[in-house]
C-alpha cells in the first residue's frame, strides 16, 4: 500500500490563521477534499511538511445567487454544486462540468476550489517513485529534461480541471485572500488569467494567498455556454479533451460574440474569441469553420496518456458538437458522452 509521509496537519479556525500558516512557503499546503493532493503526496512527487485544513472556514462556504454575480465558496463540494438548484438554473453547463469530475465518491469529497487548483498532470510525473527514478526524473521532479518536449525549456504538463474551461467562458473571477500588514485583503482575478504556462507552478496564487471563492456573473439574455469532455471512460477519468463554448446571440439569432476555452493542452488553458464571426448566423457550415479555427490553434501534447493527434482531431469534433447544440440539438451526436 502507498503510504502518506509524516505530516503536520493544522485545522485552521480562521482565514487569518490559515493565511499566516500558508505564508511559510511551499512546505505548507492548503487542503480541502485532498482528492488530488493526497494521491500526489503518496506517490511522492508533491512534497509538503504541513497541511492546513481550510474546509471549515466560513468564507469558503456556500452558493450565493442573490446578486448579479453568483458567489461560490471554494470549499463547496463538487457533488453539491452539480445539484445546486441555482447553478442548475443559471449555469447548467457548469453543473454538468463539475458533475463529470472523476467519480461520485470523489465529487463528494472534492471541492470547486480544489479542482481549480488541481495540479497539472503528465504521464511522466503522475507515477511512482520507482517509475520516476527509472526515467531519471524530469523538470517537474528531480530531472533535467522534459520528456514531452525534449530539449524544451519548461514543463508543459496538462491542466486537467473540468471546471476551468467553463468558468473561463462564463467570465468568472477568483477571489483570493491574503494578510497584508496584519489586515485581511482580497483581490479578484479573472479565471482566464489565473494560470501560467509553467507546469511546475501553474496557478498564480502566491505563498500566503488562498483561493476563497469564485464569482460568476449571471449570463445576459441570449447567452449560453456548453461544456464537452472526452475521456475513455464515462467515470473516474480526467478529461483527455476538454472544451467549453459560449455564444451570445442577438434576438435575431445572430452571433454577437463567442468564446471557446480549451483545457488539457499545456498548463494554461487556451481562450479563443469568435468575434470575427459576429453578425453571422450559426449553421453547420459556420460551425465547421469555427471547429477548424480551434483545431488550427490547439496543439494537444503527448503529456497525458492518449494519442495526441487523435485528441486534436477529437477536439474539432467536440467543438462542432458543442455548436450543434444551438442549431441542431437533436443531431449533436454522442450526446451524454
Amino acid at each position: 500500500m502507498l503510504r502518506l509521509p509524516e505530516l503536520e496537519v493544522i485545522i485552521a479556525t480562521s482565514l487569518t490563521e490559515a493565511l499566516t500558516r500558508l505564508a511559510a512557503g511551499p512546505a505548507a499546503r492548503p487542503i480541502l477534499g485532498g482528492t488530488d493532493l493526497v494521491a500526489n503526496l503518496k506517490t511522492g512527487h508533491t512534497k509538503a511538511q504541513t497541511l492546513v485544513a481550510i474546509g471549515q472556514l466560513p468564507e469558503l462556504q456556500g452558493v450565493d445567487a442573490s446578486g448579479d454575480v453568483v458567489r461560490i465558496g471554494a470549499a463547496v463540494h463538487q457533488a453539491e454544486l452539480a445539484r445546486d438548484p441555482d447553478i442548475l438554473e443559471l449555469f447548467p453547463a457548469l453543473a454538468y462540468a463539475v458533475g463529470r469530475i472523476a467519480s461520485p465518491q470523489i465529487r463528494n469529497a472534492g471541492t470547486l476550489g480544489g479542482n481549480l487548483c488541481l495540479d497539472t498532470r503528465c504521464r511522466f510525473i503522475n507515477q511512482s517513485d520507482l517509475w520516476r527514478e527509472a526515467l531519471g526524473g524530469c523538470l517537474k521532479s528531480h530531472g533535467k529534461e522534459c520528456h514531452v518536449i525534449p530539449g524544451g525549456g519548461g514543463c508543459v504538463a496538462a491542466l486537467s480541471a473540468d471546471s476551468v474551461p467553463i468558468l473561463m467562458v462564463l467570465g468568472a473571477e477568483a477571489e483570493i485572500a491574503r494578510v497584508q500588514d496584519g489586515a485581511l485583503v482580497t483581490r479578484r482575478t479573472p479565471i482566464a488569467d489565473l494560470y501560467d504556462s509553467d507546469g511546475r507552478r501553474h496557478v498564480r496564487i502566491a505563498d500566503g494567498e488562498l483561493l476563497v471563492a469564485v464569482h460568476v456573473p449571471k449570463l445576459p439574455h441570449g447567452a449560453r455556454a456548453v461544456y464537452r469532455k472526452w475521456a475513455v471512460r464515462q467515470s473516474i477519468d480526467f478529461p483527455l479533451v476538454s472544451v467549453a463554448v459560449r455564444l451570445d446571440l442577438d434576438d435575431a439569432g445572430k452571433l454577437k460574440q463567442g468564446k471557446v476555452a480549451i483545457g488539457v493542452l499545456g498548463p494554461r488553458p487556451r481562450l479563443l474569441a469568435l468575434d470575427r464571426w459576429a453578425g453571422r448566423t450559426l449553421d453547420e457550415d459556420l460551425a465547421k469553420q469555427v471547429a477548424q479555427y480551434v483545431f488550427d490553434r490547439s496543439h494537444p501534447l503527448p503529456n497525458v496518456l492518449y494519442d495526441h493527434e487523435y485528441r486534436r482531431e477529437r477536439l474539432r469534433v467536440e467543438v462542432l458538437r458543442a455548436l450543434r447544440t444551438w442549431y441542431a440539438p437533436a443531431a449533436v451526436g454522442g450526446a451524454g458522452r
Binding site: 500500500m1 502507498l2 503510504r3 509524516e6 467519480s103 504521464r123 511522466f124 503522475n126 507515477q127 511512482s128 520507482l130 517509475w131 527514478e133 527509472a134 526515467l135 531519471g136 529534461e145 520528456h147 514531452v148 525534449p150 472526452w230 475513455v232 471512460r233 464515462q234 467515470s235 473516474i236 477519468d237 480526467f238 503527448p302 496518456l305 494519442d307 493527434e309 487523435y310 482531431e313 477529437r314 469534433v317 462542432l320 451526436g333 454522442g334 458522452r337
Partner: protein, 807 residues
C-alpha cells in the same frame, strides 16, 4: 413417523433444525437459485483476506525493485539499511539462490535477482522492519551498483538480436519456447481451397486487475513449522516451491490460502513476496507480512501475452474449412511463467468447435525486458480465437453466407476427436448458436439496423481443467474428506482455492444433494495444507470438474453408509432410502421418514464417527493425441460458447459503444446457475474491456515521444505506460453494455453430474464478436486490438479514399 431424538444434541443445534412436515421436497439443491455459501462472511467483513490478518510481533516487508530493464548487478550494499533502527533483516539474491518457476522444466526466476535484473521492477532485495514506513525508508538506503545492459522491449528485436541475451544460459537466443505442429497436408488443402482468407492479427497485452493486491505472511513457530498465508490461487504449487527454494521438507511447511479478492490467473504461481516473507520469518523469528502496492501488481503481471499472428484459412465454396495455418509470435516478457503451456495452447486449443481437416501452427515465445506474461482467464487461446473468428467472419462475407450458418456447417460434433487428437465429449455449441441467434433477434434485425449499428457473432471452446498435472505424477488431481456428525451438519475438507469463483459453493451444492441436507448445513474448509487434502489449485477452469468429482466420490460413499443404517432400521432395501432437504425417507412410501439429523445420529451410534474420502484422477484413455505435446490442451471435458454483440460506431469520433451482448455458454450442467451467470457476465465484460480499452502497454525503446531513441544511455525502455487503476483503463459500471447470460446444458459424462467449466470459456468469443459487429456496423476491420477510436477513424478514412482497400 418422527420420533424423539435418541441422543439429544445441544438445544442450539436443535433450534437450527427446522422439522418440515410438508411432503418431501425432491427439488435438488444442484441447479437451484442460491448464492455463495461464503458470501455473507465476506460481505460483513467476518471473512479475513490475507492483509486483514495481523499476527503478534509482526514485521513488515518491502521489496527493492530494479529501475533498469536489463542490468547486471555488480554489488549490493545493505549495511546502511541494516543499521537503521527498526530494521530486523535485509536479504538479497544470495540468501535465496535457488531458481523457481511454476513449470518444472522452465525454472528461470530467483526470488531476488542473483546476478541480473531483467525488467523494471525485478526484485533485488527485501527488508523486514517494524513498520511499512521504516521498511520503505530502509529500501532507499540499499545501494546497488548496476552495469546497465541494452534492453529489448520489442519481440521482433529480441528474436533478431544475438548480441543481447536476456537469459545467458538459454539454448536458443531469446526464444523461450518454440512449437510447430502439423496435422494433415495443410499446403495441399490451401492450394485447393476455393477461398483463402489471410491476414495479420495483433492481440495486445492486458492484465488481470484483481482488486486484492498480492499479499503474504510468513511465520515460523517454535517447532520449526513454517506457515505461509498467501493470496494465491495455487497453494499446492506454492507449497512445493517453498520447499525447494528454502530447502525444507514438505511436512515443515503449511500453506494457508485465505479468501482471495480476485485472481483471474494473476496469482497462479509463486511470487517473490512469498519467498521473501518466508525467509525473513526464518531469519527474524517473527511473523513477516508483505503487501504489494498496485504498481507492484502491474509489475508482477503474468497477464495476457501480446500475440503477433499471421493466419491463413482455406474454405470450400460452401464455407467448409479445409485448412488452417497459423503463425504466432508471443511476447513473453522477462521470464517463463506458464509460457511453455501458453505456446502450446496457442494452437492446441483451436481444434474445436470447428472441424479442421488440416491444421498447422507455428508459435514462438520470446523473452523481452518487460514484466512477465502468463495466464489470464482464457489462457493461451483468447488471442488465436480472435484471429480465427474474424477469419470466419471474413469468409462468410466473401462467400455471401450468414456467419452463424457458416459456423454451424463447420461444427465438429460430439463424442469425437479434434485433429490434434483431443476427445470432445458433450458439446452444446449448436444450441449456443441457436440461443444467441434467437435472443439477439439476429434473423429479423441483422442488415436492417440503422446506420452505424451492427451485429457480430463468434464462437469458442475451453477446457474443464488440464488433464495432466504441471509436474509428472500419478497422484490424484483433487481430493476431498467429508464427515458428518450428530449436529446434522456436514463438513467438507477440500484443497480447492476459492478465489471468488464459487468453488466452495460448488462442492457444497453437490454434497448437500447426496447427503440430504441444505446448503446452510454445509461447512466447507478449503486450501489449508495442514487440514485439507491436496488439490492442484484454481487454474485452467478445473475446480468444478475435478473437485466436484472428488466430492461426489466421497459423499456417495458416505451416503451409502447412511442409507444402509437407515434401511436396516426400516427393514427395507438400502436402495429404497432417499435423502433430501433434511429428511431421510422411503422412496416407495415418502410418508415414512425421519429428520436427517436423526439419521446421522443413528448412523453415528451404529458405525462410530462418520467420514469418507474421495479423490479424482483424470481419465487416461481416449483423451489426447499420441505425439510430443499431444497432452497439452487435453481436458476431460470441454465447454462451448457463442456471443452476439451489438455495437454502435460513431463515424465522426470513432467511438465504439457496445450496446448489448448475448452470451450462451454450455457448462454441462449449471450446479449453481447464479454463479454460472456471474461467470458468463464477468468473462464477457473482461473480454469486452480487452476488445475496447484495456492495454498493459510497456513503453518501447526510448521514451521520447518524438520517436527518437534516447541518447542518455540504454536501460530505460520497459517502463509501464499505465501502472495504476487510473491509467490502466478498466471499464466502470458506466462503461459496460447490457448483457444477457444464457445457460446451455449439455451434460458430459466426465463431469460431476455432467458439469463442465464456466469461468473462462465465456471470455473468448466476446472479443471477436465485437470486432465482427464493428465490421457489420461500418464496414471496416480492426484486426489489431484494442479497437480504439483513432483506429476506426483511420480505417474509415482508408475506406473512403479511392485507393483505399478494405480487408
Amino acid at each position: 413417523m418422527t420420533r424423539p431424538l435418541s441422543d439429544n444434541p445441544t438445544a442450539r443445534d436443535l433450534h437450527r433444525i427446522t422439522v418440515d412436515h410438508s411432503p418431501v421436497d425432491e427439488t435438488p439443491v444442484v441447479g437451484s437459485r442460491h448464492g455463495r455459501v461464503d458470501a455473507l462472511d465476506l460481505l460483513t467483513g467476518v471473512g479475513k483476506y490475507a492483509d486483514d490478518l495481523v499476527l503478534p510481533r509482526m514485521l513488515h516487508c518491502k521489496i527493492l525493485r530494479s529501475p533498469h530493464a536489463h542490468a547486471r548487478i555488480l554489488h549490493i550494499d545493505t549495511s546502511a539499511a541494516e543499521s537503521m533502527q527498526g530494521v530486523h533483516a535485509v536479504i538479497t539474491g544470495a540468501d535465496l539462490p535457488v531458481r523457481y518457476g511454476v513449470i518444472p522444466w522452465t525454472q528461470d526466476e530467483y526470488p531476488l535477482a542473483l546476478d541480473k535484473v531483467r525488467y523494471v521492477g525485478d526484485a533485488v532485495a527485501a527488508v523486514a522492519a517494524s513498520s511499512e514506513d521504516v521498511a520503505r525508508a530502509a529500501l532507499a538506503r540499499i545501494a546497488v551498483n548496476y552495469e546497465v545492459l541494452p534492453a529489448l522491449a520489442d519481440p521482433r528485436e529480441a528474436l533478431a538480436r544475438s548480441d543481447v541475451k536476456i537469459h545467458e544460459d538459454n539454448k536458443h537466443g531469446n526464444i523461450s519456447k518454440q512449437v510447430t505442429l502439423a496435422f494433415g497436408d495443410v499446403d495441399a488443402a490451401l492450394a485447393q481451397a476455393e477461398l483463402v482468407i489471410e491476414g495479420d492479427y495483433l492481440f495486445h497485452g492486458s492484465t488481470h486487475g484483481a482488486i486484492e493486491p498480492h499479499c503474504a505472511i510468513g511465520h515460523v513457530d517454535g517447532h520449526g513449522l513454517l506457515t505461509v498465508w498467501s493470496a494465491t490461487q495455487v497453494p499446492h504449487y506454492l507449497h512445493r516451491e517453498l520447499g525447494r527454494v528454502l530447502d525444507r521438507p514438505s511436512h515443515s511447511i503449511r500453506v494457508i490460502q485465505p479468501p482471495v479478492g480476485g485472481a483471474f490467473g494473476g496469482k497462479s504461481e509463486p511470487f517473490d513476496l512469498e519467498f521473501c516473507v518466508a525467509k525473513l520469518a526464518e531469519l527474524t523469528g517473527r511473523p513477516v507480512k508483505c503487501l504489494y502496492t498496485r504498481e507492484e501488481v502491474f509489475l508482477a503481471h503474468r497477464g495476457r501475452h501480446p500475440f503477433q499472428m499471421h493466419y491463413k484459412t482455406g474454405f470450400d465454396r460452401d464455407g467448409h474449412i479445409l485448412a488452417v495455418d497459423g503463425k504466432s509470435l508471443l511476447d513473453g516478457g522477462a521470464y517463463s511463467s506458464f509460457g511453455l503451456v501458453t505456446t502450446y495452447y496457442s494452437g492446441q486449443l483451436l481444434g474445436s468447435p470447428y472441424t479442421f481437416p488440416a491444421f498447422r501452427f507455428d508459435s514462438t515465445r520470446v523473452y523481452t525486458n518487460k514484466p512477465c506474461c502468463g495466464p489470464k482467464r482464457g489462457h493461451g487461446s483468447v488471442q488465436p480465437r480472435f484471429a480465427i473468428e474474424v477469419q470466419l467472419d471474413k469468409a462468410a462475407v466473401a462467400l455471401g453466407l450468414d456467419p452463424i450458418e457458416l459456423r454451424r456447417r463447420n461444427f465438429i460434433g460430439e463424442n469425437t476427436q479434434t485433429i490434434g487428437g483431443f476427445h470432445v465429449g458433450s458439446s452444446g455449441f449448436l444450441q449456443c448458436l441457436d440461443e444467441v441467434e434467437r435472443a439477439s433477434g439476429w434473423r429479423q434485425r441483422r442488415g436492417k439496423l440503422p446506420k452505424g449499428r451492427g451485429l457480430g457473432i463468434a464462437g469458442s471452446t475451453y477446457i474443464s481443467g488440464t488433464n495432466y498435472c504441471i509436474y509428472p505424477t500419478e497422484l490424484p488431481q483433487s481430493a476431498v474428506q467429508i464427515c458428518l456428525d450428530r449436529s446434522g451438519r456436514v463438513r467438507v475438507f477440500v484443497g480447492t482455492s476459492e478465489i471468488g469463483q464459487g468453488s466452495n459453493t460448488v462442492v457444497a451444492t453437490l454434497a448437500a444433494d447426496e447427503l440430504g441436507v441444505e446448503l446452510e448445513d454445509m461447512r466447507v474448509l478449503a486450501a489449508d495444507s495442514d487440514l485439507t487434502p491436496v488439490d492442484l489449485g484454481a487454474y485452467s477452469s478445473r475446480g468444478t470438474l475435478m473437485a466436484g468429482n472428488a466430492c461426489l466420490a466421497a459423499t456417495r460413499e458416505l451416503a451409502a453408509k447412511l442409507r444402509e443404517v437407515i434401511a436396516s432400521t426400516w427393514d427395507c432395501p438400502a436402495g429404497d432410502v432417499g435423502l433430501a432437504h433434511r429428511k431421510a425417507y422411503r422412496l416407495s412410501d415418502p410418508s415414512v421418514w425421519m429428520p436427517i439429523q436423526e439419521a446421522f445420529i443413528l448412523a453415528e451410534s451404529k458405525l462410530g464417527t462418520l467420514g469418507a474420502v474421495g479423490s479424482y484422477k483424470t481419465p487416461t484413455a481416449n483423451v489426447h493425441g499420441d505425439y510430443r505435446g499431444g497432452t497439452i490442451g487435453a481436458s476431460p471435458a470441454y465447454s462451448f460458447t457463442a456471443h452476439v454483440a451489438e455495437v454502435e460506431v460513431d463515424e465522426e469520433t470513432g467511438d465504439v459503444t457496445v450496446l448489448q451482448i448475448w452470451c450462451a455458454h454450455d457448462c454441462g450442467l449449471a450446479l449453481s446457475p447464479t454463479l454460472v451467470e456471474g461467470q458468463i457476465e464477468g468473462s464477457t465484460y473482461m473480454g469486452a474491456a480487452e476488445a475496447l480499452m484495456e492495454h498493459h502497454r510497456v513503453l518501447p525503446s526510448g521514451l521520447r515521444t518524438d520517436g527518437q531513441k534516447r541518447d542518455t544511455g540504454p536501460g530505460v525502455e520497459g517502463l509501464l505506460a499505465a501502472s495504476s487503476l487510473l491509467d490502466y483503463r478498466m471499464p466502470t459500471s458506466m462503461d459496460v453494455p447490457e448483457l444477457t447470460a444464457l445457460i446451455v446444458e449439455r451434460p458430459d459424462p466426465r463431469g460431476p453430474r455432467g458439469a463442465k467449466e464456466a469461468g473462462e470459456g465465456p471470455l473468448h468469443s466476446s472479443i471477436p464478436a465485437i470486432a465482427n459487429a464493428v465490421y457489420d456496423a461500418v464496414g471496416v476491420r480492426i484486426d489489431d486490438l484494442p479497437i480504439a477510436p483513432e483506429k476506426i477513424l483511420a480505417a474509415l478514412k482508408r475506406k473512403a479514399s479511392p485507393s483505399g482497400e478494405v480487408r
